[in-house]
């Protein structure tokens, strides 16, 4: 069946390869792989040219260009091209026991201007909306004058700003008045949730990569236009959904770790399943994600970026050391363990199938006749030394296969949140060499076509994810009304990122009680999604 609909181009920048696809609905019209370049943009442009020429599509018909990129991650890890960041915390006299940048790696601290640019200002809110103390506007103005000419961007973090953002907004106004529009301002309540230190870290990191993202967007826009594409540009965020390029310039930190999320979303999209578990099997490891309403479940664990603890939302991924190249350790006919070591790229030298000395997961699949087609990842056939495989004891191979199956069942069960069987989507280069039949806890196993470019496909799903949160006292406030309010905030956030208001719907509602405090106070957190086209 030929699908109709808009043409969308998507790219996924990985460590080694940049993948590109041209999609029409769920149909892959063309795909391309280029080597990722140092500047990232070069590889994207090459992949773009390739999909355009292969599909012979008219560039003017392209309705959306989107990409998952590592520009910001690379800059943070390499401490390269970072902005000098003026840091304001609105919270004194509270919070001073642990000043901003505590626990940061020294080189990263220096790369963004260091402690001289840190200002702890009197202000911030209590959880119930009262001021801790009135905001010290004079101190902000003085600090701005002192930092004038020394900084590229400003990060402002106020105590309890995810609940009450007044002080952050007021501070931003003062900063803008004195430093002008060229100094970019990041407000913490737009970045992350409650937990001051991690949110502050996320905010400062965001402010440090504004210019990096600005340049990336500028050069990509130019490249896209040069090729006659007038479509808007979108960037993938780390829940796997997209945001408009302008929004991405304001919130570049949301692109960190967007790659795995986009892969998950892409494979889900290709398989047509909204809820289930995605198993991405590589050569040395397997990543497992859980999908709810088409989105990867969020992790509640702090995420470390460039050596700094943050609380930006990230997909909940569980990684285990099992892949196509994982070594099956054995004593005679008895399997002693699966890995954790893998032969990795050396499979074609070290694996039994290729005349090597080691038994791997790949070899067990070959021995059991599970592999019958040539794999793209190998230049040769999947087995060059069948006599070595024929010599393997049947009992050993079957035991290994059973062990691989159990390992997969265990990791799937760990990620599930319900005892009912769920669909499982197997993707990745190693998906061909693992058991897919009779997996416990799984209703069906799917391996969609084109999953090797799942990340690029994922970027073309024209959906935006956003969230908001609030604190309520159930003794005073009406729960439904509170949820409606927070939903409205989340909707506003989705619209700011580029979503069409009428299309926004709720993905999930989370309620977290305040412990060790009398009353029925709780935090409500609501995630929404909306369409961009």
């Amino acid at each position: 069946m030929k699908e109709t609909g808009q043409l969308r181009v998507g790219f996924d920048v990985g460590g080694t390869f940049t993948d590109g696809v041209l999609m029409q609905g769920r149909t892959v019209l063309a795909k391309a792989k280029s080597l990722t370049t140092q500047d990232v943009t070069g590889g994207i442009v090459e992949a773009l040219d390739e999909v355009l020429s292969r599909s012979e599509a008219n560039p003017a018909d392209v309705a959306m260009v989107s990409l998952g990129t590592t520009h910001t991650t690379n800059a943070l890890i390499e401490r390269r091209n970072l902005n000098q960041v003026g840091i304001f915390r609105l919270g004194a006299p509270a919070t001073t026991a642990i000043p901003p940048l505590t626990g940061w790696p020294e080189d990263l601290k220096q790369a963004i201007g260091g402690s001289e640019l840190v200002h702890i200002i009197r202000g911030g809110s209590e959880y119930d909306g009262r001021d801790i103390v009135p905001l010290d506007k004079q101190a902000i103005a003085d600090a701005c004058r002192e930092m004038k000419g020394k900084i590229d961007s400003v990060a402002i973090t106020g105590v309890f700003s995810p609940i009450i953002n007044d002080h952050e907004e007021q501070a931003a106004e003062i900063v803008r008045d004195i430093l002008g529009d060229d100094v970019h301002i990041t407000l913490s309540h737009r970045i992350a949730t409650i937990s001051l230190l991690e949110r502050e870290n996320s905010t400062i990191l965001n402010a440090s990569v504004i210019t990096v993202m600005q340049r990336a967007v500028k050069s990509l826009r130019a490249a896209v236009r040069e090729r006659g594409i007038e479509a808007p540009l979108f960037i993938v965020q780390n829940d796997g959904s997209v945001m408009s390029a302008d929004y991405a310039i304001d919130y570049p930190i949301f692109t960190v770790a967007s790659g795995p999320a986009a892969s998950v979303r892409g494979s889900v999209y290709l398989s047509g399943i909204e809820d289930g578990v995605v198993i991405d099997i590589g050569g040395t490891s397997t990543d497992v994600a859980y999908i709810v309403n088409g989105f990867p479940r969020e992790s509640s664990i702090t995420v470390t970026i460039g050596g700094v603890k943050t609380n930006i939302r990230c997909p909940d991924l569980l990684s285990i050391a099992l892949g196509g190249g994982t070594i099956v350790k054995h004593e005679g006919d008895v399997v002693t363990s699966l890995g954790p070591e893998s032969v990795g790229y050396n499979l074609v030298r070290l694996g039994k199938s290729f005349g090597g000395p080691l038994l791997t997961v790949h070899d067990t699949a070959v021995a059991l006749g599970k592999l019958q087609q040539k794999l793209d990842v190998f230049k040769t056939n999947y087995v060059t030394h069948p006599e070595k495989i024929a010599a393997l004891p049947k009992q050993l191979v079957e035991q290994a296969w059973m062990k691989i199956k159990q390992t997969l069942e265990e990791v799937i069960d760990k990620m599930k949140t319900t005892p009912e069987p769920v669909p499982a989507i197997f993707i990745g280069g190693g998906a061909m060499v693992v058991p897919k039949v009779g997996i416990a806890g799984v209703s069906e196993v799917l391996s969609p076509d084109h999953f090797e470019v799942g990340g690029a496909v994922g970027t073309t799903i024209a959906e935006i994810g956003a969230y908001a949160e609030g604190v309520v006292d159930l003794d005073i406030d009406d729960r439904d009304e509170a949820i409606a309010n927070v939903t409205e905030h989340a909707t506003d956030n989705a619209v700011a990122a580029g979503a069409i208001r009428d299309t926004v719907s709720v993905i999930d509602v989370e309620e977290i009680p305040f412990t060790y405090m009398p009353g029925k106070r709780e935090k409500i957190r609501i995630r929404v999604k909306g369409a961009v086209l």
């Binding site: 919270g91 004194a92 006299p93 509270a94 919070t95 001073t96 026991a97 642990i98 505590t102 626990g103 911030g124 209590e126 959880y127 119930d128 009262r130 801790i132 103390v133 105590v159 309890f160 409650i194 937990s195 001051l196 230190l197 509640s300 069960d413 760990k414 990620m415 599930k416 949140t417 005892p419 159930l474 977290i512 009680p513 305040f514 412990t515 060790y516 405090m517 009398p518 009353g519 029925k520 106070r521 709780e522 935090k523």
Partner: protein, 394 residues
């Protein structure tokens, strides 16, 4: 009074105490992990207290820990702690001076200097905070506490069950507001007032409490509770480094340090969480129940636990295996990291470990104040070792 002090070392010189342990960053991280495990699912996230203590150490302030038996009888000690909502603390860390302020005001009220700190409980921010306070004040930490676990209320200590009191307690906030709570021997009222004050401050208060003499510390505390937490934390961290079984290492450390046998009784996955807001009297605790479905050797069995900030009791297939004040820890089987009641989620997997409460928590008065009947169970307290005669797995 504080300004006369030189340092923890000069105080120890004055007392003629030569044995002490220097608490460095690794030590405090090990003590904090051990304390979180002993916290019985409660206590909240210790991160802020840990970062604070690191900062105090980085500023060159020395933190020294001494054995309770070396403490002179007549000296004045006190405990410092954070009292209030854990979630507020993660958003509103303290000013650097709240502990100094609380201690100074307590000294003024008592009319004599405080020469050592005594940790209140094992768990959450309050474990490292005692050390940060000692560093800030220039006084030693005594190797004791009042629970050797965490409990939700201020009066639930071996101190109260052995006849000493939390009053006078000084409660302060970041804006230097000061409240003195002096309810004499009514420790329950002191707790009620202290919590109301914390609420009025904005959810969090910093207290100086339990002003005990050296003699009282020796007679009423859980002795060497810090060494116990330290041994547990050290064992689990070693297990992580050397890829050993953290639960086995933990149990062994308890045998060595406390000469007590813990029990590994269940391994499972959280399949149901039922949170319930406030008790009938709206005491303001997170109440609820959680169900774990057995995995591995425990497949087919079901564990249920009630919680009131901390885990309260454990039953497996309806059979009671642990009652308060004995300790319950649910630990990640691979890392030994405790699963707390405030962050547990559907699908978490863990191993349940039971640990006998310290003898000083098990006196008749203790069972009355924080045993099963106090928490609303129509059950007599039975020690965990009698409920687990088969001994669990090793």
């Amino acid at each position: 009074m504080t300004e006369k002090r030189m340092s923890a070392r000069s105080i120890l010189n004055e007392w003629g105490v030569k044995d002490f342990r220097v608490i460095d960053k690794q030590a405090i991280s090990e003590i904090t992990l051990g304390a979180s495990i002993l916290a019985t699912g409660g206590g909240g996230d210790p991160e802020i207290g840990l970062l604070w203590t690191y900062k105090v150490i980085d500023e060159g302030k020395e933190i020294l820990m001494i054995d309770p038996l070396d403490v002179p009888d007549e000296i004045q000690t006190a405990s410092t702690a954070c009292l209030g909502a854990a979630i507020v603390l993660t958003e509103k860390p303290p000013s650097g001076e709240v502990l100094n302020l609380a201690m100074q005001r307590l000294e003024t009220y008592l009319g004599r200097p405080i020469e050592a700190t005594i940790p209140l409980e094992c768990g959450g921010v309050n474990s490292p905070v005692s050390y940060a306070a000692a560093g800030e004040l220039g006084v030693p930490v005594i190797d004791v506490d009042g629970m050797n676990r965490a409990f939700p209320e201020l009066q639930m200590t071996s101190w109260v069950t052995h006849g000493v009191h939390s009053s006078p307690t000084v409660s302060v906030d970041n804006r230097r507001n000061v409240t003195i709570i002096d309810t004499g021997d009514d420790d329950v009222l002191a707790e009620t007032l202290a919590r109301r004050v914390a609420m009025a401050y904005g959810g969090i208060s910093w207290i100086a409490t339990y002003p005990l003499t050296g003699r009282q510390v020796k007679d009423t505390s859980i002795l060497n509770s810090q060494s116990i937490a330290w041994a547990v934390g050290r064992a689990v961290m070693r297990a992580r480094r050397e890829h050993l079984d953290p639960i086995a290492e933990l149990l062994e450390s308890l045998e060595k340090e406390r000469n007590v046998k813990g029990f590994r009784v269940f391994r499972g996955k959280i399949v149901d969480i039922n949170r319930d807001f406030g008790s009938e009297t709206n005491k303001g605790f997170t109440l609820g129940a959680v169900t774990l479905e057995g995995i591995d050797n425990y497949k087919g069995q079901t564990a249920t636990l009630d919680f009131q900030n901390e885990w309260l009791n454990l039953a497996v297939d309806g059979r009671v295996l642990c009652l308060p004040p004995d300790l319950i820890a649910i630990l990640d089987s691979e890392t030994g990291e405790p699963i707390r009641t405030d962050i547990m989620k559907y699908g978490y997997r863990g191993t349940i470990v039971l640990i006998p409460a310290h003898e000083r928590m098990r006196t008749p008065k203790g069972i009355e104040m924080f045993g099963p009947r106090h928490f609303g169970y129509d059950l007599d307290y039975v020690p965990v070792e009698e409920l687990n005669t088969s001994g669990g797995e090793n």
